[in-house]
């Protein structure tokens, strides 16, 4: 069953001159994690905002947990949790204050709100800092609290918009741990990210979007396959290069490329580990010992490059612009 369905979403800004979404469609199967992967400005946040009823699309249809997002936004808000790019909690209040307040706004009543707040603080290892103002929290703690706030009513569908953007590596690891826990509990999750590693780690399925459109979808493995199969890479001493090229080409059946500077020989292989063993055996027979040998699968970076024609890191300039001029 599909928990989230979006069909042909179009959203333009500034009287049509900026197209944020250009006929975007996606769906999320109940109990799975879909990662929406794309650079800044690709339309990730706009997609989440439409699905979370914060923004109305110009055209297109969307349902969340079977409820129409445009016709019945109030009903949708009862079954979703949203955690945005910026920890959206009241910084002057304590973590406990915030969770109790949001619990009451979900109409849990005071007693239940307090119980749920304590439960969530415990779950996200925030009990020790529960009575401190959020201002004193680290970036990772803020995000965890923000996530806790979006889980108060045990949402049927959870939207996480770039949950680890701006966190240091440790904060990111902690956040991933927390999200993986949620996934184990069976939450349906739509997660946007610009980190290929993050999508790889957390998602059951990935949609890659660029310029407001889905340009590819599939599992991480399928996407990698789409870009091309495995490659065999061997690094050897300068004097042995020609001998090894001969071996590699014989096993691969295709011509190998040679990086003289790195003394690296690369060739596509179809049979994966069998090819690896074969090459090793042949080299051993000839008395050649490689400095390094590896079977490489394309990374999601490669996927992005081949799909969009530009690297996912292209957007650094845009991020800097955003930091200077506020949000677009």
């Amino acid at each position: 069953m599909k928990s989230v369905i979006a069909e042909d979403l179009v959203k333009t800004y500034r009287k049509g001159s900026v197209k944020a979404l250009d006929g975007l469609s996606l769906d999320v199967t109940e109990g799975t994690v879909l990662s929406v992967l794309g650079p800044n400005g690709a339309g990730k946040t706009t997609t989440v905002r439409i699905l979370a009823t914060l923004l109305a699309p110009d055209s297109g249809r969307a349902t969340v947990a079977g409820i129409d997002v445009i016709k019945n936004p109030e009903k949708v808000r009862e079954v979703i949790g949203l955690s945005g790019q910026y920890a959206a909690v009241d910084e002057t209040l304590t973590g406990w204050d915030n969770l109790v307040m949001f619990g009451q706004l979900y109409h849990l009543g005071k007693t239940k709100s307090v119980a749920r707040a304590n439960e969530l603080l415990e779950k996200f290892s925030l009990t020790d800092s529960a009575r401190r103002p959020i201002k004193t929290y680290s970036g990772g703690m803020r995000r965890r609290l923000d996530l806790a706030a979006s889980l108060i009513v045990r949402p049927k569908v959870l939207f996480l918009d770039e949950p680890t953007t701006g966190l240091d590596p440790r904060g990111r690891q902690e956040m991933w741990g927390v999200i993986e826990e949620l996934v184990k509990d069976g939450v349906t999750l739509l997660l946007t990210t610009q980190y290929l590693e993050e999508a790889d780690q957390l998602a059951d399925e990935i949609v890659v979007i660029d310029y407001g459109k889905v340009i590819a979808r599939g599992t991480s493995d399928a996407l990698k396959k789409q870009v091309g199969g495995e490659r065999l890479e061997v690094i050897v001493e300068q004097s042995q290069i020609s001998a090894v090229v001969e071996i590699v080409q014989r096993v691969s059946g295709a011509s190998a490329s040679i990086d003289e500077g790195l003394r690296k020989i690369t060739a596509p292989v179809s049979s994966g580990s069998t090819a690896l063993v074969e090459v090793l055996r042949a080299m051993d027979t000839s008395g050649i010992h490689p400095l390094d040998i590896a079977l490489k699968r394309p990374s999601l970076d490669d996927v992005f490059m081949s799909l969009t024609g530009h690297a996912a890191e292209d957007q650094v300039v845009e991020v800097a612009k955003k930091a200077r001029g506020g949000r677009p």
């Binding site: 914060l54 923004l55 945005g84 910026y86 959206a88 909690v89 009241d90 002057t92 304590t94 506020g326």
Partner: protein
């Protein structure tokens, strides 16, 4: 009535903020008290009024009105801050009435006014303010002041939601409130102003409010060119009319703006 409960939870949040960061309350009370002392002792000696009881009698209504007028700025910057932090998105994704947040905030800012007005009244009393009209009329004037602050806080909501940057909000709202409060009868009689300016100053809602309070505190109002016009002879009624006009325009405008405004 979930809508009302939701709004009250938002109001409670603001009061909780004051409890967590008491400095905010302390400083927002100290500033008007400073104004009272400043005008009473520094400028007061040079402003001749001829009023019985001295300048402080005329001054207090003026400062009360000025202080509640600044609610506009407080509401606007508070809301702009929430927008900047992304908090508005969270509220908008909750299953609560869209109007709950803005109603809650206007109520919260008015609650703060109660504390501030009380502190100012006490200070005024210490430095010689003695309203002579009796408890009922005095209470009535404070109710009027609170409503005036409440009405202006809706303008603040609109300003806060419209501004593109939180830092601009503070400046813009002072740009609105400063001329409004000084181009009035709040601190000095309008009779000394150039004639064309007297029209502006005496029709100014701040002036009718100040005149209304003076009347309710048992003072005689002095007007220049507009002395016989409706606002000058019926300041209480005129002030109420102004408040109704402000609310009728800005409540629906702000609520609509809130439901459509995206986070910046």
């Amino acid at each position: 009535m979930n809508g009302i409960t939701d709004a009250l939870i938002i109001t409670k949040r603001q009061l909780l903020q004051l409890a967590r960061v008491p400095e905010v309350l302390i400083f927002s009370t100290i500033q008007p008290i400073m104004f009272v002392l400043l005008f009473r002792f520094v400028f007061g000696g040079s402003i001749s009024t001829g009023a019985p009881g001295g300048y402080v009698q005329l001054l207090m209504p003026g400062i009360f009105v000025q202080t509640v007028a600044f609610t506009l700025a407080a509401t606007a910057s508070g809301l702009a801050e929430d927008m900047k932090k992304g908090l508005i998105d969270r509220f908008r994704s909750l299953p609560i009435a869209r109007s709950a947040l803005v109603f809650g905030r206007t109520l919260g800012d008015s609650t703060l006014n109660i504390v501030v007005l009380f502190a100012m009244g006490l200070t005024g009393f210490i430095v010689g303010w003695r309203p002579s009209s009796g408890i009922l009329k005095i209470s009535l004037s404070f109710v009027l002041l609170l409503f005036f602050g409440y009405a202006l806080s809706w303008v603040g909501i609109y300003a806060g939601l419209s501004a593109r940057d939180a830092r601009v909000v503070q400046n813009v709202s002072f740009l609105i409130t400063f001329p409004l409060t000084f181009l009035s009868n709040a601190f000095a009689p309008t009779t000394g102003m150039p004639k064309p300016l007297q029209y502006v100053a005496e029709w100014n809602p701040v002036s009718t409010m100040v005149a209304a309070c003076r009347e309710l505190f048992g003072l005689k109002n002095q007007f220049g060119v507009t002395a016989n016009s409706f606002p000058s002879s019926h300041p209480v009624t005129m002030s109420l009319i102004y408040m109704v006009i402000i609310m009728v325009i800005f409540v629906p405008l702000s609520v609509r703006k809130y439901s459509t405004t995206a986070n910046r």
